[in-house]
């Protein structure tokens, strides 16, 4: 095992806890715990939002998908970044001005309907869990890949560290932790990539897609993960195949991947429907993610919420330049991952594979693993804070004046379900589940926010009907995808990437429902719209 690994992981955990404890010295009131007393500057806040947003799916998953499928999945990073533009254009400033802390709060402020508030709480908890489980799974899988230890210990370790940190430090501490973790994640991908690019240069710039197909750069032994056929020859699980340097990389029948022109050029076997559905889900889903919205409350006013979002767009956009390079270089230096199907590990394995097992390779390997740990810690902390916030105000019903002890109880409650789930469900596909969480958010909260902010005639009945129709349909699609049998043909696309039909459905039902119940438009709609859109300096 890599000797630098354990020290670097311990440093990340210690610094995380350390900043959390340091923040605790300032966290005295419940308001400090929940929203950092609204005194965080835009640059800190933007780094914190980015640190929270760049999850295991971004740090490991995107590179793994690119290694596997090529140019078609570049829409994932583009969509993950573009989501912040949609948030900036339609939501950021008015949401901050509404004074809402969580999505259920926004429902209360805008439509004053307790039923809608409860429905929104259900969706926040569902999306939060859907997003939290794969983070913990990613932690478990990384733990297995890097140390050879057991999956459950990795998931449990991250689960406990995160729960303790949120329960003890709350959001004030989390803000500094998240900001630190953004820069750690950026460094952890950016520094190794410089050395990787230099190595690629000195290796004589090997082609990513050679005419004759990929070859092994060094002698490699591959352990087959599932019964399959390799170039027509049947192999069994656990069988070891040895290849010499320069041997062609065979295709394993059970591993779904693209090769040659399919990988290099768009079109592949993904349909246009799936591509557009993915674009829609990621562009519109970001604004509906509970842990992203909570952050906007920590801005002092609407204009700074807007500026914060712009900085986030810059930070996130910079980060997403890097995973593509890992995916592409992985084609050259770690082709064995295309045989085992563990493509998510490419970021972790690439430094040692390309630079050799000397000090440099191992040091950089430890650095990317520390970055991966930061990714799990920060996203799960943010998700847990927001889910705990909803449990605190809507399930325990103690109100904003509740004690810090109640918030700690809410945190432990909110953490226990996903941690248990992640221990028992270990075979779900990480990046796919995260994509589905975006689809659910895009078809429930996106229409609610956009219409709630810009359309005076929205009613509570229309909003409830729209969230039930769009959110319910996408939730059902998620459950079928995760639990149901594999599908073929067009249902596979429509269920596997549901956003293209569930988002328009949610908007249509919401608009039609509101027009049919137009007598229920809140009587104080003018005052609400004034509050959402007028600059704070005009507040009377």
């Amino acid at each position: 095992m890599n000797p630098y690994l354990v020290p670097s992981l311990i440093v990340v955990i210690l610094v995380t806890v350390g900043i959390g404890v340091y923040g605790l010295r300032f966290a005295r009131t419940t308001s400090d715990f929940l929203v950092a007393s609204r005194s965080v500057s835009p640059s800190w806040n933007a780094a914190a939002i980015s640190g929270e947003y760049l999850s295991a799916a971004s740090f490991l998953g995107v590179a793994g998908l690119i290694l596997r499928y090529g140019v078609d999945v570049l829409w994932y990073p583009v969509g993950f970044a573009a989501g912040y533009l949609a948030l900036l254009l339609f939501v950021a400033a008015p949401l901050r001005r509404s004074g809402a802390f969580t999505l259920p709060d926004f429902c209360e402020v805008r439509l004053g309907s307790p039923l809608l508030r409860r429905l929104a709480s259900v969706f926040v908890v569902f999306i939060g869990c859907l997003y939290l489980v794969p983070q913990l799974q990613g932690a478990g899988l990384t733990f297995t890949t890097v140390t050879g230890g057991s999956y459950a210990w990795g998931a449990l370790l991250v689960g406990v560290v995160v729960t303790a940190n949120v329960a003890l430090g709350g959001m004030r501490a989390i803000t500094f932790v998240q900001a630190f973790q953004y820069w750690l994640k950026l460094t952890a991908l950016a520094v190794p990539v410089i050395f990787l690019a230099l190595q690629w240069q000195s290796d004589g710039r090997p082609l990513v897609t050679p005419e004759a197909g990929a070859t092994f750069p060094i002698a490699t032994t591959v352990t087959i993960e599932q019964d399959a056929t390799v170039d027509g020859v049947p192999v069994e699980e656990g069988q070891q195949l040895s290849f010499a340097a320069g041997d062609p990389v065979p295709v394993v029948s059970t591993v779904d991947a693209n090769f040659g022109a399919d990988w290099l050029l768009p079109g592949g076997d993904g349909t246009l429907f799936a591509t557009y559905s993915l674009i829609l889900a990621t562009f519109l889903g970001t604004m509906g993610l509970p842990h992203v919205l909570v952050r906007f409350y920590t801005n002092p006013d609407g204009a700074s919420a807007r500026r914060t979002t712009l900085v986030v767009l810059g930070l996130v956009g910079t980060f997403y330049l890097l995973p593509t390079l890992y995916g592409v270089l992985g084609r050259i230096y770690t082709p064995q991952l295309l045989m085992t199907g563990r493509t998510d590990a490419v970021v972790l394995l690439l430094p040692e594979a390309a630079l050799g097992a000397g000090h440099l390779g191992r040091l950089l390997g430890a650095l990317v693993t520390a970055g991966a740990l930061a990714a799990f810690l920060s996203t799960s902390s943010g998700l847990l804070t927001s889910v705990a916030g909803v449990v605190f105000t809507d399930v325990l019903r103690v109100g904003r004046s509740g004690s810090i002890r109640d918030f700690r109880l809410a945190t432990v409650l909110a953490a226990s379900v996903p941690v248990m789930l992640s221990l028992y469900v270990s075979n779900m596909d990480v990046s796919r589940v995260v994509g589905l969480a975006f689809a659910v958010a895009a078809s429930s909260f996106c229409p609610l926010l956009v219409l709630g902010i810009w359309w005076r005639r929205l009613t509570d009945v229309g909003a409830i009907a729209g969230v039930l129709a769009g959110g319910g349909a996408s939730m059902a699609a998620v459950l079928i995808t995760v639990l149901g049998p594999p599908l073929d043909g067009w249902p596979a696309d429509a269920i596997g990437q549901p956003a293209a039909w569930t988002v328009p459905l949610a908007f249509l039902v919401m608009i039609a429902g509101s027009l049919l119940t137009s007598r229920r438009v809140p009587h104080d709609i003018g005052a609400t719209m004034l509050r959402l859109h007028a600059p704070e300096s005009l507040r009377v």
Binding site: V71, I279, L313
Partner: protein, 130 residues
Amino acid sequence: MNAEDPSAAPRRTRVVLGEAAARRRPTDRTRSDLAEQTPVGEALVKGLMRAQLALALRLALVVVTALGALPLLFAVAPGVAAVKVFGVHLPWVLLGVLSFPFLIGVGWAYVRWAERNEQDFIALIRRPEQ
């Protein structure tokens, strides 16, 4: 407590406040139009919302036409996807690199123009009555 000294002071205070109130009057009227939801106030807020929404929709349209057209373009004209820039195929350059500065640029333009819309609105509210 000390009943002898405040006889002059409150009177002077009252005059100052009265002057200040008189000077701020036009602002206050428009402001109270806003606060009390008179037809004038409502029209002002609607105007601001329309301006902000139009701006957001225009910029969203720019992004949707620029990025959203790419999958269709690559599907309809595969030749475009085979073009190489600095030895890299065009779709990789467009999606993997150039899309990010493009998004940031659109966001920057939005923040600038949205803040200008708000400043126009504030100027409208605060403008002295003519």
